[in-house]
């Protein structure tokens, strides 16, 4: 009974979200009608439920039934967890086709980071196809909350979150990852099918395309 109720609620939610997606949400919201609001009443309790004892017995039956079901536990160190493709683990700094750090030190990730865990110092790039590059790029992996907003903010797809989740260290300093370490993580994870390079554009503006000495845009979305 409870499950059925749950399902109904979920269906309702889906309906609402679809309703909001449709067309301009603003106009629809203003035209929201009374019947669009779903009121949930406290369910009436019959004599049977009010007596509690049957419910208690039902509960006991439920737990007993589960005791004989197969556990759903994944035994972690022996069995690797099956992570979803968009899992947000340790960061990496991508390289371009020439193996240089892709980051242009725009500091948008540092700006958007809600945990203030990214510390970048930028400088004049030694390369012809871009103006700026990071001389220091540090992420405090302990401070990070793995929200993935840096990934979204990055205009050149340089910072990405990988599926590495087993992050360990014996000191806090050890878990402040610098530029080289983040690039090494890229080298380690770029061939992992779980961590596709999510690059779409990859180069910094058309300037890079014309001035030569440039990395061709990597457009592959798979690895």
């Amino acid at each position: 009974m409870g499950l059925a109720g749950c399902r109904r609620a979920v269906a309702k939610l889906r309906l609402v979200s679809r309703f909001e997606e449709a067309g301009s949400a603003l106009e629809n919201q203003s035209a929201m009608k009374a019947e669009d609001v779903h009121w949930v009443d406290e369910p009436t309790i019959g004599l049977w439920e009010a007596m509690y004892v049957p419910a208690i017995l039902g509960g006991l039956a439920t737990t007993l039934r589960h005791a004989f079901q197969k556990p759903v536990t994944q035994e972690y160190p022996e069995v690797a967890p099956d992570l979803p493709p968009n899992y947000r683990g340790v960061h990496r700094l991508n390289r371009d086709a020439q193996g240089r750090v892709k980051c242009v030190a725009c500091m948008l990730c540092a700006t958007v980071c809600p945990a203030h865990c990214i510390d970048i110092i930028g400088d004049q790039a030694p390369w012809a196809d871009r103006d700026k590059y990071p001389t220091k790029f540090e992420i405090d992996e302990l401070r990070c909350i793995y929200c993935g907003m840096c990934e979204q903010a990055c205009p050149v797809d340089a910072i990405e979150l990988t599926s590495i989740y087993d992050l360990t260290g014996v000191s806090r300093e050890e878990l402040i990852y610098d530029r080289e370490k983040l690039l090494i993580i890229y080298d380690q994870t770029k061939d992992n099918p779980k961590d596709p390079i999510r690059t779409t554009g990859g180069t910094l503006g058309p300037a890079a395309k014309i001035l030569g000495a440039i990395s061709p845009p990597t457009t592959n979305t798979k690895c």
Binding site: C106, G205, A207
Partner: protein
């Protein structure tokens, strides 16, 4: 009284005012976007961003509009002018013009220093269209990092507003910058081998509405949206340019001029713009110390700051010497001190004894006043529009006025040094919250003979080495106060960052020396000074506003009139 109608709203314009339509519209909060127009520069109407519908109200009440859009910057706001800035026609023109300006723009905002304070970004967001219809490859032009010692040019970001070119022609008169090529290939450039290195060159960075001209000093140091801004006054010469101090996390990254017709206009010189570096110098004094005394350390082996003990000792020695021989006690004020600091120090020493001598230290004069614009020979053109003063200190007049109030007869600083050399001074306090190189070697040797020399300053120097007691002070960015410029204009400086390490502000040091309780409040102290010293009567409000107040109205503002 002229009445201009802007978007159906009437704007009154005074008889003596000469405004264009952009300025008139700004009065009622209507923003007309513009790139090439700048209040201090001539009008060229080349960017076409400020196109609006213009018309005229006839005496009979009928309105006749011009058939085509016209640039608002070029249109004087005269009586009967009718302006429409929000019609579809205008909006379309703005959007199309922005699309055109962005045709060859590299859109490298992520690496552009201007991002965040860029008018291309702002106007595109507010007036532009979201997508470009450009299909051809963009014309890309090489950057010109050698365009000047302090400035660099990202040629492809330029929108050809020519503000920089006009600045070097009209304000500095040096005319280094020019436009080369024509049409879509037009670029800003210098004459071969003649980089833009005049003393006002940094202003073209501020003038540039986009990220084309950037300051090499600030390049890639910070994103501008991280900077916190406070109004202040440039301490590098007696012009007293109004500036803003931009800092992030207790580090000053740049100074920018702030428009103030009372003080200097819209600009500032490079000397002032880049002359704040001593604030973060490695030689900054960070902790109070008494010479030849072992320092106590805390548990971590660090030297514990011992302000109260050291200040107590200074107070005790000074009062002891004052009792014995008040003539042997003196204080040397630096023209970098704020009026408030000078007032606090003077009132403390005066409270010890009226015979204590207070002297204003040497005034640094370097060369002659540097007047701009120059003609092609390098001679100043009359009337000058910008002056870099030879008097390289911000507050000579303020400190002088304070000292004059406390002692009628001025104490000759030379005589004081002679006394020191002759061993007649027993205790002296030298306060210098400014850059190094203030006193020369002779003067320092003379002061080194004072048995109890207290030096309060920013930087470690021969002077601080000669001192018995060293007190770290606060630079102009670290304290509240008032500077009085060459023309008697008093302007507030505001605290942007904290003193380094265990430093105290100067005012706090003086208050503790005088045994005052409570916190230093510049506003209240200014009000007290206004009551005590007639010269500072204009301080009565406590707050001097953005533009400052004139202490002496009779110190005529010929320059302002000329400007």
């Amino acid at each position: 009284m002229a009445i201009v109608t802007i978007n159906g709203q009437d704007v009154e314009i005074g008889d003596n005012e000469r405004l264009n339509v952009i300025q008139a519209a700004k009065r009622i909060g209507v923003e007309i976007p513009h790139y090439c127009w700048h209040p201090a520069l001539s009008v060229v109407a080349s960017c076409r961003m400020c196109l609006v519908e213009l018309g005229e109200k006839k005496p009979d009440g009928s309105v006749s509009m011009q058939p085509k859009l016209a640039p608002a910057c070029q249109m004087p706001a005269k009586h009967g002018t009718v302006v429409v800035t929000d019609s579809t026609k205008v909006k379309q023109a703005q959007a199309t013009n922005l699309e055109y300006l962005l045709l060859n723009h590299p859109l490298d905002c992520p690496t552009c220093d201007q991002a965040g304070e860029c008018f291309l970004q702002d106007y595109s967001y507010r007036f532009g269209r979201s997508a470009s219809r450009m299909e051809e490859p963009k014309i890309l032009r090489a950057d010109k990092p050698s365009i000047g010692d302090q400035i660099t040019l990202f040629t492809d970001r330029c929108v050809m507003c020519t503000r920089c070119v006009r600045f070097t022609r009209e304000l500095s008169g040096t005319s280094e910058l020019q436009v080369i090529n024509r049409g879509a290939l037009a670029e800003i450039d210098i004459y071969p081998g003649q980089p833009c290195n005049n003393k006002l060159a940094g202003n073209v960075v501020d003038l540039c509405p986009v990220g084309a001209l950037c300051s090499k000093d600030f390049l890639y140091k910070q994103r501008v949206w991280w900077l916190k801004t406070r109004e202040s006054v440039c301490p590098n010469c007696s012009t007293g340019c109004s500036i803003t101090v931009d800092q992030n996390e207790e580090h000053v990254y740049r100074l920018r001029p702030r428009s103030n017709p009372q003080a200097q206009g819209h600009f500032m010189c490079d000397e002032g713009r880049f002359g704040f570096k001593y604030v973060h110098a490695a030689e900054r004094l960070t902790r109070p110390a008494i010479k030849n005394e072992s320092v106590s350390t805390n548990g971590n082996g660090e030297v514990a700051p011992d302000w109260s003990r050291i200040l107590g000792r200074v107070r005790q020695v000074f009062s002891q010497h004052t009792e014995e021989d008040p003539n042997g006690v003196a204080a040397i004020f630096s023209p970098w001190m704020t009026c408030e600091d000078a007032y606090l120090l003077a009132s403390w020493l005066r409270s010890l004894s009226p015979a204590v001598r207070l002297a204003l230290g040497p005034i640094p004069i370097v060369g002659e006043d540097d007047l701009y614009p120059k003609d092609w020979r390098g001679e100043p053109v009359q009337p000058p529009r910008f002056v870099i003063r030879a008097e390289k200190c911000p507050n000579r007049r303020g400190v002088e006025a304070v000292l004059k109030h406390f002692q009628q007869a001025e104490v000759e600083i030379g005589a004081l040094f002679d006394d020191a050399r002759a061993g007649k001074l027993h205790a002296a306090q030298v306060v210098h919250p400014g850059p190094g190189g203030w006193l020369n070697g002779d003067q320092i040797t003379a002061l080194a003979r004072v048995p109890f020399l207290v030096v309060q300053g920013l930087l470690k120097s021969d002077l601080s080495d000669a001192a018995q007691v060293v007190l770290p002070g606060a630079s102009f960015a670290e304290k509240d106060g008032t500077f009085v410029n060459h023309a008697g204009l008093a302007q507030m400086i505001k605290r942007s960052i904290r003193c380094p390490a265990e430093g105290y502000t100067d005012a706090r040091i003086f208050m503790e020396l005088a045994g005052h309780t409570g916190l230093f409040n510049a506003r209240l102290l200014r009000q007290e000074m206004a009551r005590e010293i007639p010269h500072f009567a204009a301080f009565a409000a406590g707050d001097l506003g953005d533009q400052g107040v004139r202490l002496d109205a009779s110190v005529a503002s010929q320059e302002v009139a000329a400007r």
